[in-house]
């Protein structure tokens, strides 16, 4: 075959192009309903999620009050944040909160799920009891725990006094404030996590446990060699979700401590709120939001890569 013939064969003829156009048109017409239905979701995402994200990136480099003209300020918003003592405190507290939340909020629900899974009586009742706190609105939970933590006549200190045990300042001391908020967060959120763990546990084939028992494995060995490996994917995914969620803690410090005492509980998200709605520094708020966004994005990508590599 000559070169000319070969090129001619590769070039679409007029009639071939028309046919392709017809095919596309027919395909579009056949799926019009689907595309239109998709459009609603896409428009909503574009308006309320993607556009604000892009806008936040732009605002991070601007000074604006949303009424007058915005001005480009380069990296000034970021420089101001780095010079702010609250910035360091917010990241330190958030990382500390996440660390405690992983230690307590990850282990406790898993152990509870294992215990619930092993129960033979009143299973439903205990599941309900564990899940009940999830149904309490977060603000109500925070107000309730604020009373629990009242050093004067709060539930915890009253109980400790009745038992002749030393009391604590709970959220009113810089040394115990973050840990106290982690307890609130764990109590209010663990119901959902326990249910997911329970579902994963119930998906483990019973014959694996039987085989382990026949091999003479005790309960701890069964958990270590059967339960944990079988629920590994759920555990890893929940850990990622939990880290992303706890890095964005807001309700507990906002309602219970107002970020105090002495910035001991101010979180990154709470500082974003303060920059935007207390200091009216929208550029600073967006710059901090971008930092959190990038940090969580890199962390998630790294985490997912690591867990996939280990598969």
């Amino acid at each position: 075959m000559s070169v000319a013939t070969s090129v001619a064969a590769r070039l679409p003829s007029r009639s071939t192009a028309t046919n392709r156009g017809d095919r596309i048109r027919r395909k579009l017409a056949a799926n019009l309903t689907a595309y239109l239905m998709l459009a609603g979701g896409l428009i909503c995402f574009a308006l309320f999620s993607w556009y604000p994200t892009v806008r936040a990136f732009i605002l991070a480099f601007q000074k604006t009050n949303f009424v007058g003209a915005s001005h480009w300020v380069g990296w000034a918003n970021f420089e101001r944040l780095f010079a702010d003592p609250e910035f360091t405190a917010a990241w330190r507290n958030t990382v500390e909160f996440t660390g405690f939340a992983l230690l307590i909020g990850f282990a406790v629900p898993f152990l509870l799920a294992v215990v619930l899974n092993e129960m033979r009586h009143a299973k439903s009742l205990f599941r309900l009891l564990v899940y009940l706190p999830v149904m309490v609105p977060p603000v109500v939970t925070a107000i309730l725990w604020k009373w629990f933590y009242d050093p004067g006549d709060g539930l915890f200190n009253e109980t400790l006094r009745a038992l002749h045990l030393p009391t604590s300042s709970w959220v009113y001391s810089t040394s115990t404030a973050v840990l106290s908020l982690v307890l609130v967060s764990t109590w209010s959120n663990m119901g959902s996590t326990v249910l997911i763990y329970l579902a994963a546990l119930q998906g483990i084939p019973a014959d694996l446990y039987e085989a382990a028992e026949l091999d003479g494995a005790n309960i701890l060995q069964r958990v270590r060699h059967v339960t944990v490996p079988q629920t590994r994917y759920v555990l890893l995914m929940l850990m990622l979700l939990q880290i992303v969620a706890t890095m964005q803690v807001f309700t507990e410090p906002f309602i219970i401590t107002g970020g105090g005492p002495q910035d001991a509980t101010i979180s990154v998200l709470y500082l974003i709120y303060k920059y935007a709605f207390v200091y009216y520094d929208y550029g600073g708020a967006c710059a901090l939001s971008i930092m959190l966004f990038v940090f969580l994005g890199i962390f998630s990508a790294f985490y997912l890569r690591l867990t996939r590599t280990n598969d």
Binding site: V67, Y172, Y279
Partner: protein
């Protein structure tokens, strides 16, 4: 049977509906017609949970529209009236009402941002304008003398105290403390009553710690910012004295209780339930303590701000949307004059208030000087239904005690000072010098960024 075409049409209709709804949401409010009729929107209509105030507001609008037939007012029920979270967005999105409520602390920023209309040429007809206390009116004025709003209420800080606890502690309820040393001594005696009673409480959260720090440093003759408003000026002997006094009461005397990070919504229930001896506040706290938290007017007094060098002034008012037409501003000014600035009408309709058994006779708002003040005081005395003698010390002090308005960018500064107050009240060994120095640096950064 539904055809594919009809389902496509349905989807198109839903999509179009969503788009139209979004477009409709962005339309502005209020209008001026060619025949001279003008309609305005006004926010801060009392909520339905406060039926008496809401009815009064609605009745006032009806009466006003009757006497001003070309003006139509559309009230907007919003709570809180001035919400920083939506304020800028509403202005930017053209959703801000024609006449909008604002705290004194936000006025300067709204003016500086060009978010309010200049109403200087529309207010000359307001009766009694010259009698409004200069410190209250000047809040709505910029440095060149232009006006951007009108006041609704004003307040000055004093010391609210529980008369019964004073008596039980061996103190004279008719002689409130006038120095901070006396407050400390009285607080110690009151807390010695035991049973969970706190002698003196102070705020340290929700920007309110900084607000009280400001009131307390003013009372000692200090200031928050330099006279040009560009730098922090509270890392001084007066600032240290405020914190040292609190530190002693909290940790040495143990007369402030162990629960801290308090805000107004924590302290008012303590006062209403008889568990608190004293706290600094404005007289407008009294009705809330009685109405919501079980206090009684007979048992509550307000004395002058301890320290006696100056007292913090504050308040609220209304400003005008920068996009308002001349006719809308004129209509808004007339409405505000009717509702907020005329003795015997609107918020000063004492006869109606007394008939509704709402409190009449509280020391504030105290908007006027001269003839208007006399007229207001007489009307108030005629219908008074609260024990005015309980406020005598406060009112006597107000004749001589200088008032001092809040600093620029007040809410931002208050937020920073929360940290200082919470530091002293939650940490026995708090480094007062370090706290003040850090806060000073932060406030300087904030002020430089405005």
């Amino acid at each position: 049977m539904r055809t594919p075409t009809s389902s496509r049409l349905a989807v198109l209709a839903v999509t179009a509906g969503c788009v139209l709804t979004l477009v409709a949401c962005s339309s502005s409010s209020g209008s001026t017609s060619a025949n001279g009729d003008v309609s305005i929107t006004v926010n801060c209509e009392p909520p339905t949970s406060d039926p008496i105030d809401r009815k009064n507001f609605t009745d006032d609008i009806a009466s006003f529209e009757k006497s001003h037939p070309t003006i139509q007012i559309t009230p907007k029920d919003e709570y809180p009236c001035d919400d920083p979270k939506t304020f800028e967005a509403k202005l930017a999105g053209g959703q801000m009402e024609n006449v909008f409520y604002v705290y004194d602390t936000d006025v300067a920023q709204v003016i500086n941002n060009g978010q309010a209309a200049d109403i200087s040429s529309y207010i000359s007809g307001v009766k009694g304008l010259d009698d409004i206390q200069p410190s209250t009116l000047s809040v709505f004025k910029d440095s060149s003398g232009k006006y951007y709003g009108l006041p609704k209420t004003n307040y000055s800080m004093g010391l609210i105290y529980n008369r019964s606890l004073f008596t039980q502690a061996g103190l004279d309820p008719n002689t409130p403390p006038t120095t901070w040393a006396q407050v400390q001594a009285d607080s110690k005696k009151i807390s010695a009553l035991g049973n969970g009673i706190v002698g003196y409480a102070d705020y340290s959260s929700g920007n309110q710690g900084g607000w009280h720090f400001t009131a307390e440093i003013y009372s000692r003759g200090g200031s928050m910012v330099t006279s040009d408003g560009k730098h922090a000026n509270f890392d001084t002997a007066a600032g240290k004295a405020v914190l040292q006094n609190l530190q002693q009461m909290r940790w040495t005397d143990n007369s402030m209780g162990s629960k801290q990070l308090l805000t107004q919504s924590d302290v008012m229930p303590m006062m209403g339930s008889g568990k608190l001896g004293m706290y600094i506040a404005a007289p407008d706290n009294l009705p809330t303590i009685v109405k919501q938290y079980g206090g009684s007017y007979d048992n509550l007094s307000i004395g002058p701000m301890p320290g006696a060098k100056a007292t913090l002034l504050g308040g609220d008012g209304y400003m005008f949307n920068v996009k308002d037409t001349a006719a809308q501003i004129q209509a808004g000014v007339q409405w505000l004059e009717y509702e907020n600035l005329t003795p015997g009408l609107g918020q000063f309709n004492y006869q109606r208030a007394a008939a509704e058994k709402t409190p009449v006779g509280l020391p504030e708002p105290d908007l006027w000087n001269g003839a208007m003040a006399t007229s207001d005081a007489q009307a108030k005395a005629k219908y008074a239904n609260v024990p005015q003698q309980n406020y005598a010390a406060f009112q006597a002090a107000m004749q001589t005690l200088p008032g001092k308005i809040e600093p620029p960018d007040a809410q931002q500064i208050y937020s920073v000072l929360d940290n200082v107050m919470s530091g002293v009240l939650t940490s026995q060994n708090a480094d007062i010098n370090g706290l003040l120095s850090d806060a000073s640096t932060k406030v300087n950064t904030l002020l430089a960024n405005q």
